[in-house]
């Protein structure tokens, strides 16, 4: 049940500050798309507009359309809470809920969204999500222990389990491996490969090898100039971006001749 994303002429603001301008792209269902680009060019900002997390920041606004299977999530009468149920998110730093056990962390979304659920249903969800996040074997004997007691990499996989427990159709990941060691990183990259069979995945990363390894499509973002807003330079097949990009700026960035 993955969905297709069409962004049309997005202008994204923090108050009066235009952070990203005129972004247009299409993301196919059941694919992995990587966002790359220098720091501060607006990758996180664009990612957060896809599930309407951007407007959580006070004064932050978005112009333009973002279509999820043709339906504008910025349309009138659309509740951002519903959008976020459909489009899950994993953050750069693992952020399990500190007051909750591993078990409760996984079902937090379900419980908080819809209240009472049967125990057997919850048990099933916990096992399925933790297996899905490749964490089940490591934690199955201590589900009642606090989620914050896991290692950083385990916490991040717990957060992925928590995100997929509510069965979203799109999964957004903002540098999910930047706080992790190489082994946890590999575990999460493997996970992304299996997740893409069910979800549309967008991942922000500073690690080019990672982008090349996990994604089918890559979008390169850049600042239009000093003091100018960020922009989408090009989006294309990852293979093409890394071997034969259309734009000279992409070529420079990829080959390290940037700046």
């Amino acid at each position: 049940m993955a969905k297709r994303i069409d962004a049309k002429n997005l202008n994204i603001y923090y108050g009066k500050f235009l952070a990203v301008s005129e972004v247009t792209f299409t993301i196919a269902p059941r694919s992995v798309t990587a966002f790359i680009g220098p720091s501060g060019c607006g990758k996180s900002t664009v990612l957060r507009t896809i599930n309407r997390m951007h407007e959580v920041i006070s004064g932050a606004t978005v112009e333009g359309d973002l279509l999820l299977d043709g339906e504008n999530i910025y349309g009138a009468g659309i509740d951002p809470v519903d959008v976020r149920r459909t489009i899950g998110m994993v953050f750069q730093r693992p952020n399990p809920f500190p007051t909750m056990s591993i078990y409760d962390n996984v079902v937090a979304g379900l419980k908080l969204q819809s209240g009472r659920l049967r125990k057997s249903e919850l048990d099933e969800t916990v096992e399925r999500s933790l297996r899905g996040a490749n964490l089940w074997e490591e934690v199955k004997s201590r589900l009642a222990k606090p989620g914050a007691g896991l290692s950083g990499g385990q916490q991040q996989r717990l957060c992925i389990a928590r995100a997929i427990a509510v069965e979203p159709q799109v999964l957004l990941m903002d540098e999910p491996c930047s706080a992790l060691d190489p082994i946890s990183t590999l575990a999460i990259e493997d996970l992304i490969q299996t997740l893409k069979e069910k979800y549309t995945i967008v991942i922000v990363t500073h690690n080019m090898q990672q982008a090349a390894r996990v994604s089918e499509r890559t979008a390169f973002f850049n600042l239009a100039g000093v003091g100018k807003p960020g922009q989408l330079v090009e989006i294309d097949d990852t293979q093409k971006i890394f071997t034969n990009p259309t734009d000279q700026r992409t070529e420079d960035y990829i080959s390290g001749r940037f700046g």
């Binding site: 959580v56 007051t99 979304g109 995100a163």
Partner: protein
């Protein structure tokens, strides 16, 4: 090689190392001295209250009896009426203050923007500075002078509410601000509405701090005396009714015994001894008050720990 050697020797005894050590010693000594000086009055106070008050607390009937018909010439007497009054007044005050203060703090941290929030903060600041006797006079003016009410315990609770709210608002605000924004975002990203995020994620995360704030608020008001004098007076008898008549309280008992100090001479084992029954009861009540606040404190901590684990 020479550079390495010189670096090594300069590490061993860099210029000015002696002075730095002296400065370090001096600062350490000063810090410890200040700590000791701050501790002296505290320990002294505790020692005085405990040593003078423990006698009454260990007597039979202190926690069950009242002061009915007892003068400074009489031994015995109890504090049950006062404990009950204080508990009732503080409980009502807490029941009113906590919801209001929590809502104000939540508003200020999670929703408050612009002039209304600034005004609320300003009002809380002003409230923090209000002397308890002014709060008492205000309640008197409104409920007794204007509405013709009767002096009674619940008016004390109302006056204490004005003292308690700012304490709880302040500490709760600080605790809510300590909750990392990432947790709120994690919750929003799961499709949880804002109010539910606050109730189920933010408040539980800040719970132990909030409980500390409530306990601080209770400690702040439990010993207040001015509102008692103005709004309820004192009764040596038990009065469990918050809404009618004079009611005892621990500060009230302390004040009452203090106003009726006096010594009397008795025969003990064939010898004449001078005894101070009222003073004994005064210290006993003081120690009881301290213990009461401490027990509430401990109970609140246990409750907070329980709720945090769940």
């Amino acid at each position: 090689m020479t550079t390495v050697e010189s670096a090594g020797s300069s590490l061993a005894s860099p210029p000015g190392a002696g002075i730095r050590k002296v400065k370090d010693r001096t600062a350490t000594t000063l810090v410890y001295a200040a700590f000791a000086i701050a501790l002296v009055p505290l320990i002294w106070l505790l020692w005085t209250v405990v040593s003078k008050g423990i006698y009454m607390l260990t007597r039979n009937g202190w926690f069950t009896g009242t002061e009915r018909g007892i003068t400074y010439r009489d031994a015995g007497g109890g504090a049950w009426h006062a404990v009950l009054g204080t508990l009732e007044q503080v409980a009502l005050c807490t029941a009113i203050s906590v919801p209001i203060a929590l809502l104000v703090a939540i508003y200020l941290v999670e929703y408050g923007r612009g002039p209304l929030a600034r005004m609320t903060t300003f009002m809380v600041d002003i409230l923090t500075g209000i002397p308890s006797i002014v709060a008492a006079l205000f309640i008197y003016a409104v409920f007794i002078t204007t509405f013709g009410g009767e002096r009674s315990g619940w008016l004390v609770s109302l006056a204490l509410v004005m003292l308690m709210i700012p304490v709880i608002v302040r500490t709760t605000e600080e605790m809510l601000k300590l909750v990392p924004n990432e947790l709120r975002e994690a919750s929003y990203a799961l499709g949880v509405p804002k109010w539910k995020t606050i109730v189920r994620i933010v408040l539980p995360t800040a719970m132990s701090g909030i409980v500390t704030g409530v306990v601080l608020g209770i400690a702040r008001v439990a010993g207040e005396t001015a509102p008692l004098l103005i709004l309820v007076g004192y009764s040596p008898d038990k009065n469990a009714n918050l809404f009618s008549g004079p009611q005892a309280s621990l500060p009230g008992l302390i004040k009452d015994q203090f106003s009726n100090l006096g010594s009397t001479t008795i025969l003990e084992g064939g010898k004449r001894v001078t005894v101070h029954y009222a003073a004994d009861r005064m210290w006993g009540a003081a120690l009881t008050l301290i213990l009461l606040v401490m027990i509430l404190n401990l109970a609140a901590r246990v409750i907070a720990r329980r709720s945090a684990v769940n």
